[in-house]
Symmetry: C2
Subunit: 141 residues, 2 copies
Amino acid sequence: MQNENEVHNTTFPMGDKNTAYAKFFTGQSYLNGLVAPAKDVNVGVGNVTFEPGCRNNWHIHHDGYQILLVTAGQGIYQEWNKPARLLKPGDVVVTHDGVKHWHGAIQDSWFAHVAITAGNPEWLSPVSNDEYVKANAEVKE
Amino acid sequence: MQNENEVHNTTFPMGDKNTAYAKFFTGQSYLNGLVAPAKDVNVGVGNVTFEPGCRNNWHIHHDGYQILLVTAGQGIYQEWNKPARLLKPGDVVVTHDGVKHWHGAIQDSWFAHVAITAGNPEWLSPVSNDEYVKANAEVKE
């Protein structure tokens, strides 16, 4: 499995196993909260690390958005009815209000991103094995 | 001068000389815009790099805030009437609405941070040489 050392050595600590959101993920993720939302700060910031094969469920950010700053490894970002996109360190993703999407590691690499999140998430169904295998094939073409 | 290689090799490119905001800085900075604010995205995200000795003016974020994610080198963050704070990679700073502050490199090191910014900046007077030398002395104690 690739990039395990890389995700352990980004600028921001990897944090502990992401138990709080485990029910919305397939596989093991890790979360290190960097900034909590506050009365006058409408975003939360966290460092999220995915083991190979790990991804979150399809989800939507309502009345908000999400920005991903990719820091290590290789991953996938996919919006509903769109092609999967390969993510590498330095890539930036903006998910706009109301857009159904998922993100996670590819099958054979660890993956880490800083997530800047505003609004209320709505968690939907897991990314099925068929959807995940298809997305991995797409980003390897 | 320390950490020149480090600021050139963070995950996000350093970008070009920061001409757009040069009048609000003392010394040379570099800016790489990562995310522009949009109708439904109330923050901008940019990678800011400071040459040794470079700092921005005292400023305030009105109706917003700023989050700094330090990625390389060593710098200073200071709020009005508060002690200067040394910044190193992995440090996170939240500047709340209306707080007068400045940030920049220390005298003998390059410095880089990702800045997440909401609201309207009000740019005030430069950090004087006396203020800057005093802040450097404080963070070296």
